[in-house]
């Protein structure tokens, strides 16, 4: 079990060790969340690496990752616990067959932990030899408000109440990471209990670093061109801007196509890895892409020339 980071620098190193290139502000949020034992609330567009943070934390801190994927209608039975009804039924029949008439005893027996099916949130509260797990509550915005309200108890006291058993308190506070794509606003009461961080698109320097870490097979020139191209694309008026995940996918695709540098033809044929809406693809494909590529090349050439002059 790795120790928690003692400073912001250590938090940054920790993320780096997990191949996650984080800027200072994110490292600060992560450090504070770990240090003060509060949940980390990550919001941002799809594909900017929110979920990845939880995975990296689990990996580098050597903890188990307990993941709860949210969806509309998510309820206690699939998020926290459920009774194993079939086994309970059998148990009752057996007790009756054995003429154990004491109802009170049967009730106590069948509502014991043996018959409890534990779902992610309850699992996260259990004692773990590796230390408290990382609890990832993914895409919280997909679920509905009642579930959000339920989370309030869990996130402030780290306990859940099962009527038949009583309150179950966490052995040790889990490291909680909540993500949201902002398809609806999360209630202030929940955000108030967390450290909030807006995960933005990275700047070109950081994106290049991410790309070098994630797709080492791509040459430096190709990576630079890709990053410059994507950064320019994000300034366009598109319905869905490409995230970091798309940049990585696209670079992977280009590598598979044996490209060492961007070309109009390669861009047009692989644009689907980068843009996910037909309107956007139709707008960019062809002349627009060529124009951006032209600009990218000119910029990179100018940059190179400036460097040469310096030497």
């Amino acid at each position: 079990m790795a120790a928690l980071p003692g400073s912001i620098d250590q938090a940054q190193d920790l993320l780096k060790a997990g191949h996650y290139v984080a800027d200072r502000s994110l490292a600060t949020a992560v450090f504070l969340a770990l240090k003060l034992g509060r949940p980390l609330f990550l919001e941002g567009e799809a594909g900017v690496g929110k979920t990845e943070i939880a995975k990296v934390l689990a990996e580098t801190l050597d903890r188990n990752l307990v993941r709860l994927q949210c969806y509309e209608g998510l309820d206690i039975a699939s998020a926290v616990y459920e009774w194993n009804y079939a086994r309970q039924m059998i148990e009752i029949r057996l007790a009756e067959a054995a003429h154990e008439g004491d109802k009170q005893k049967i009730a106590e027996d069948i509502f014991s932990e043996r018959f409890l099916v534990k779902r992610p949130l309850l699992q996260a509260l259990e004692p773990d030899p590796k230390g408290a797990p990382v609890l990832l509550i993914d895409e919280l915005d997909r679920t509905d408000e009642p579930f959000e309200a339920f989370l309030l108890e869990l996130l402030s006291d780290f306990q859940v109440t099962i009527p038949e058993i009583g309150a179950v308190k966490a052995a040790a506070k889990p490291i909680v990471v909540i993500t949201s794509n902002r398809t609806r606003e999360i209630h202030d009461a929940l955000k108030r209990r967390c450290f909030y961080y807006w995960v933005d698109y990275p700047d070109s320097e950081r994106e290049l670093e991410i790309l070098r870490t994630k797709v080492p097979a791509a040459g430096l020139d190709l990576s630079k061109e890709v990053v410059a191209f994507v950064q320019k694309l994000r300034k366009r008026d598109l319905f869905k801007l490409p995230g970091v995940a798309e940049t990585i996918d696209w670079t992977d695709a280009l590598v598979q196509l044996d490209q060492v540098a961007l070309s109009s033809a390669a861009i047009d044929s692989s644009l689907g890895a980068l843009l996910k809406y037909q309107d956007d693809i139709a707008r960019i494909r062809g002349s627009e892409a060529a124009a951006i590529l032209e600009q990218v090349r000119a910029d990179l050439a100018a940059e190179k020339a400036a460097k040469l002059l310096q030497h």
Binding site: G73, E96, R182, T183, F239
Partner: protein, 408 residues
Amino acid sequence: MPGEIQRGSRLAQNILLFARTLRAAGLPIGPGKVIDAIEAVKAAGIGSREDFYWTLHAVFVQRREQREIFDQAFHIFWKNPQFLQRMMSLLLPQLRYDKAEDEDRDEIATRLAEALQGDRAGAMDEIPVEQEEVEIDAALTFSDRELLQEMDFEKMTSAELAETKKAIAGLRLPIMEVPTRRFAADARGRRVDMRATLRASLRNAGAIPLKLKSPRYRHPPLVILCDISGSMSRYSRMALHFVHAITNDRDRVHTFLFGTRLTNITRDLRHRDVDVALDRVASHVKDWSGGTRIGHSLHDFNTDWSRRVLGQGAVVLLITDGLDREGVEGLEEEMIRLQKSCRRLIWLNPLLRYEAYRPQSQGAKAMIRHVDDFRPIHNLDSMQDLADALGRATMRSDRPNAKETRAA
């Protein structure tokens, strides 16, 4: 003074008059309340103005949105003893209301002004102006700013408001519901509620009584996009009252206004008093009664807001006449995108009041192809029709996901 109040005393009469004023301003106050109020004042005594205020407040105000009206009425009515005395001597307030504009002074709600004024316009000239000026002019100033860019909403008269409110009360409930993935116990349900069944089986040994459950139903989120351009100005105020009522009746309502640009007014409308809410809206919106750029506004909505508010199968009400000052370039694409992002897209068009209306303008032609429903919204009747349409289980739309809806 406590305990000294006699039936027919001045204070009792004052309270009676005050109650009448409040009633005229729309608060539901019957004769019983007046007696209660006199009793309450007797019991509490009039130690201070503040005590007196809260004593009357406790009796007359029953809902949060009534507080604003009560507050304004109280301060006008009980401020100037001379004013009151004069009112007492005349039994009913017969005052002269100078309608001079005074931009610096606060306006009071039109409906309260009307209530104070009553129907006695003819008797107004009898009172000399000078004595009342200080208190009353300040309160009852009207403004002609209505015609200016930042529209003043205060102009809805009591009659209009009462009618709209009445109609709206009927409109609220029947908006369609959709099944959620949550369940509630239901004796006629179609699924077995295992947990309840097991508990029941413990109570009566031998048999296992089946307990059933069925899905809960819930309103889908509602997003309202309302055109406030010049050509729509006569309807958008009515529409805003409608929107305010809906916002306060159910959760998950988001409202946007657009003329030349898009403004999110959801938070402003949360205020329970319609006057205050619309005031806040007015202070926010800068493009009142100007031109329209429907395509541009929809584009802004699609890029900045659609993913944030159209999640979970929202129903979109688009209130516009479809007259676009800008060209129609891009409008059709934005309409397609909007329709694809929501459960149902309903276009409410006040121009539909003309029987022979056919979408003539290019904008309207582009829009009509991409809506699930198309309805008039120019008077209370059409609003009623709209409510019925929204509540009906059979949808005009042939979109597959419309089938799962049902009447509330």
